[in-house]
């Protein structure tokens, strides 16, 4: 039985991209330790615990060989006129492969996290923003406002790695940092300082947050009428605005996924607009956390290869970006795709799949590429277990600040195809095709 210990391993199971994990490999078991959080431990263990000889390809729910599954894949892809590549939870190398296939087949590309990402993207494409990265937060941030986001729930080690550190370079210590939470986080353990200082919480339900962001923006800009009428906690928000103005390096943290209400892009704009105003006199930055499910990794590849982000269709032979019309859910609902290639190749617990039934009741056939350990997807005509980067294969992963990309290492040997190999096999099957 092969045993090995890998150190300084990077983790792709949330956008934080911690790279200080230790992996103990023993045959087919994989135990993550070192810095690994519970989520990482479970993910590594779950993916690795599928025996190499267990079924890994299915056609209509029945185990088949990879060749048989691929034959069915070709039957579906070859005649497809309007394929939709959804999910897209993969790394850079997986996405490179998918992009080649998408270009070849004229596919529409959309990620499982697009709806959330768009809240940020619309704001960037409209006005831009001022942002920062994890190590800057770690060393500089003296006032940290978590807005509407349960940061620890989405990014388990955020506070440990970016806030409560022993020696921030430009602060006396971490203990004196101010952490302010606007919203209703489930628990405050992560945000509580090592010496037990609990963060200040301005408890607001999600339906009040859009208003709160707009109010804070006005407070910082000094643009509100003097006798403003509001049932929001005005004094508390005023105090936050004041502290941000006094801060040397304030940081506003949010995860767009948590800003789950309509037109939340305007809330993002209120926050980034506030940051812009603060930077007239002091320094302040946004930290729009993302990157989970490989959303920054596959989006980055799309951007550099096509010039456009997710929700871009290559059907006309060139990129056509439409953030509204090209949503997976809408395209399926309106029966505008004749095939769904669903890629969920990272976290096996990311099991939600879109509803493939259109308004007229038709089912869009689905091919699913999933990590080992993922459940069988009922609706999938074909399901193939693909090599998970960081477990079965190497790869590259963009973490939460979009700047640092990490090498993912192969830990164990199984025979699953990588997402890129799958794409190349399909392309070989399609043969030469004049453009």
């Amino acid at each position: 039985m092969a045993t090995a210990t890998l150190t300084d391993v990077a983790c792709p199971f949330c956008g934080l991209g911690c790279d200080d994990l230790t992996l103990d490999v023993s045959g087919e078991t994989l135990a993550a330790s070192g810095g690994a959080c519970v989520r990482a431990k479970l993910a590594f263990q779950k993916i690795a615990s599928t025996p190499a000889d267990a079924p890994h390809s299915w056609v209509e729910g029945k185990p088949v060989s990879l060749d048989q599954a691929m034959a069915r894949v070709m039957d579906l892809i070859a005649p497809s006129k309007a394929p939709l590549f959804g999910g897209l939870a993969t790394d850079v190398l997986g996405m490179r492969g998918l992009m080649e296939l998408a270009d070849r087949t004229g596919a529409l590309l959309d990620h499982m996290n697009s709806e959330a990402k768009l809240r940020n993207l619309r704001s960037v494409q409209d006005a831009g923003w001022i942002t920062t990265t994890l190590s800057e937060v770690r060393n500089r941030a003296d006032v940290i406002v978590c807005f509407g986001t349960d940061v620890s729930a989405r990014f388990p080690r955020f506070f440990e790695r970016c806030v409560w550190v022993e020696e921030p370079m430009f602060l006396k210590d971490s203990e004196h940092r101010q952490v302010i939470i606007i919203g209703q986080p489930k628990d405050l353990a992560g945000a509580t300082s090592p010496k037990g200082r609990v963060p200040e919480v301005i408890s607001l339900s999600p339906d009040r947050l859009a208003e709160a962001a707009a109010l804070m923006r006005g407070l910082v800009a000094g643009s509100l009428p003097p006798q403003i009428q509001t049932d929001l906690p005005l004094e508390a928000l005023k105090s936050v605005a004041e502290r941000l103005k006094q801060a040397h390096y304030g940081v506003i943290v949010w995860a767009a996924a948590d800003l789950d209400w309509s037109h939340a892009d305007l809330t993002v704009q209120a926050l980034t607009g506030m940051v812009g105003t603060l930077n007239i006199t002091t320094r302040c930055s946004g930290l729009p956390l993302g990157g989970s499910d490989g959303d920054f990794s596959s989006d980055a590849v799309m951007l550099w290869q096509t010039g456009y982000p997710f929700r871009t269709s290559l059907a006309s032979g060139t990129g056509h970006y439409d953030p509204v019309m090209h949503s997976t859910q809408r395209v399926l609902h309106e029966d505008e795709a004749d095939l769904l290639l669903w890629v969920a190749g990272l976290d096996p617990d990311r099991t939600q799949v879109p509803n493939t039934q259109s308004a007229s009741g038709k089912h869009c056939p689905m091919i699913a590429l999933t990590s080992a350990g993922a459940p069988l997807i009922q609706e999938a005509m074909v399901q193939i277990t693909v090599a998970t980067p960081a477990v079965d294969t190497h790869g590259y992963f963009f973490r939460a600040d979009k700047i640092v990309s990490l090498p993912l290492r192969k830990a164990i040997q199984r025979s699953y195809p990588t997402v890129a190999e799958f794409a190349h096999r399909v392309m070989a099957g399609l043969g030469e095709k004049a453009c």
């Binding site: 370079m169 096509t306 190497h394």
Partner: protein, 558 residues
């Protein structure tokens, strides 16, 4: 496979060949003397009457890395007007200001360029830069890694670390990021912006580290010299775009104290404060300084009128200029105790006084610097204009009457202030060949590029001569990359993947001990994962190779 290009007019400044009729043989990707005894010529192409040059080299073009992807993300509206359809061998993409990587490679190659160098690779973002360059087909690539506002260097300098120690750190950074050179951007300023500084002059002290930009420039220029890295320090000087900054530029030259330096996008650093609007050209003074200092070279960063996007590591300057953005949006970032970036779309207008004068200043610098070996043809793609405007720029340099017609169309106040109209110089074909291939290869230390002598890479371009240089340089008749015909009259006929050019300076590996410790204590990444191995480069370049250039250099120039 032996290919003969027969009877072309060879323009090869490295060998002082000026339109000399001759033959060029290519075997297996290299230029060779001729057939071995008894060897058959597999392919013969008659190029009688055509001009033949080595492949062009863009020594400063933002083709990879986070800031370019930010620009792409921000500007779908700019891409919509330049769609690129999947056709023939080429995949789809898009062009204009921040083109897709695929389109970038195809368009460069179709224009006779066989190499392009990304000048602002942040160490912590190096992997992304290489991934993007890896997806840029046909052309060779390489990058200059950025230091000078990174906390590790500034800490070393504050502690008074020895030059040797700093050299080790510079050597380590170049090697572990797989770079070809080193760049400094607004020395110390990107860091001081994080401490709320808004302007940092050459001799002002950094508010936290108390070192000056002058010290940073000198220390890094000396480090490269002592590490024998061929390309001298690539400097984006302090005070970019600020009226009166010509003095900073002149002081930067003096500050290097004779160590070789390269001043990048010098056009943006040649501004005076004369005139009613307190904005004027000091191109003559800058050119004179370059003429008088043989250890100094520069690329121009010419602006062209139209929509583009500025992508810079200089977040201090970009934040200051964000209000001029057109469309009005900007992304400004502080990055990882390492660097920063700022992306601001811009529309340069010929009727705008400042823009028109910027245009004239760039051309003045081109025409007033006498030695074409030390001035390089760039638009600082995409900051001054997209690289696709090079043929037009070449015509402006080669054709005085064309230039003066253009001058007559710009903002009249700017035209009146500029001495451009009085300059008679027209670049010759030889000079264009120097500044676009022979000189970049020389200054980057690429011994087997930029010329056509046996032993060179078979990167060869064949042009149909034309009285209109813009036409001539837009779509050469034949472009060979490593001996493969990749483009024919503007059409891509083969898609290959170029190499990555790097240097591997010698340094004391013991620097990794304090560095590893620093990473663990202060950063959010492990040193081991920061480093990019040779295998990794090969893994991400789609089959392109890794070309390591020797670190050797003549002694101190002055």
């Amino acid at each position: 496979m032996l290919t003969l290009l027969k009877g072309g007019k060879i323009v090869d400044p490295t060998r002082k060949l000026s339109s000399v009729v001759g033959d060029i043989y290519m075997r297996d990707g290299w230029i060779v003397d001729g057939p071995k005894p008894g060897e058959r010529i597999d392919e013969e192409i008659n190029i009688t009457g055509r001009i033949v040059m080595a492949g062009a080299i863009d020594m400063h073009t933002h083709i990879g890395g986070g800031k370019v992807n930010i620009a792409r993300n921000m500007l779908p509206e700019d891409h919509r007007f330049d769609p690129v359809h999947r056709a023939g061998l080429c995949r789809s993409g898009c062009g204009h200001a921040a083109p897709s990587t695929l389109t970038t490679g195809y368009r460069y190659a179709a224009m006779g360029y066989t190499a392009g160098f990304e000048p602002a690779m942040l160490p912590v973002n190096a992997r992304q830069a290489h991934l993007e360059m890896g997806d840029t087909p046909i052309i060779d690539k390489g990058a200059y890694v950025m230091l000078g506002s990174d906390d590790f260097l500034l800490r070393l300098m504050r502690e008074g670390a020895s030059q040797e120690r700093i050299n080790d750190y510079v050597g380590f950074t170049i090697a572990s990021s797989q770079a070809l050179g080193l760049k400094v951007v607004n020395p110390g300023g990107i860091s001081d912006f994080k401490f709320n500084r808004r302007k940092l002059d050459l001799d002002e002290e950094h508010s936290h580290y108390h070192v000056t930009a002058r010290q940073i420039v000198h220390t890094l220029a000396r480090a490269l010299h002592e590490l024998k890295v061929p390309h001298p320090l690539h400097i984006h000087a302090s005070n970019l775009g600020v009226p009166g900054n010509f003095q900073t530029t002149l002081d930067t030259i003096t500050g290097a104290e004779g160590f070789p330096i390269h001043l990048t996008h010098i056009q943006f650093h040649s501004y005076g404060t004369e005139g009613d609007r307190k904005f004027s050209s000091e191109a003559a003074k800058i050119a004179e300084a370059i003429n008088n200092n043989p250890h100094v070279s520069a690329d121009v960063g010419q602006i062209m009128f139209g929509q583009t996007v500025t992508c810079s590591g200089d977040n201090m300057t970009q934040h200051r200029n964000a209000g001029f953005g057109n469309p009005k949006k900007s992304v400004i970032m502080d990055i990882e105790c390492d660097a920063g970036c700022g992306v601001v779309p811009f529309k340069y207008k010929d009727k705008n006084f400042v823009n028109a004068l910027q245009w004239a200043i760039g051309l003045e610098v081109f025409l007033r610097v006498e030695d074409p070996w030390r001035i390089f043809l760039t638009t600082d793609h995409p900051n001054g204009a997209p690289f696709t405007s090079y043929p037009h720029l070449i015509r402006l340099l080669m054709d005085k009457s064309f230039r003066n017609e253009a001058l007559a169309r710009i903002n009249p106040d700017a035209a009146a202030l500029s001495t451009l109209g009085s300059i008679d110089r027209e670049y010759t074909l030889d000079e264009i060949a120097i500044m676009t291939r022979a000189a970049p290869a020389k200054i980057l230390g690429l011994k087997d590029c930029g010329h056509l002598a046996p032993g060179a890479r078979a990167d060869v371009v064949v042009y149909q001569e034309d009285s209109d240089p813009e036409k001539m340089f837009t779509a050469p008749e034949y472009v060979f990359k490593n001996g493969t015909l990749v483009a024919h009259s503007g059409e891509i006929v083969a898609v290959t993947w170029g190499d990555v050019h790097v240097v591997k300076p010698q340094f004391d590996r013991s620097i990794e001990k304090p560095l590893g410790d620093y990473f663990d204590r202060h950063l959010t990444q492990k040193l081991g994962n920061f480093k990019i191995s040779d295998d990794e480069i090969r893994d991400i370049t789609n089959g392109g190779g890794l070309r390591v250039h020797a670190c050797e250099r003549d002694g101190r120039t002055v």
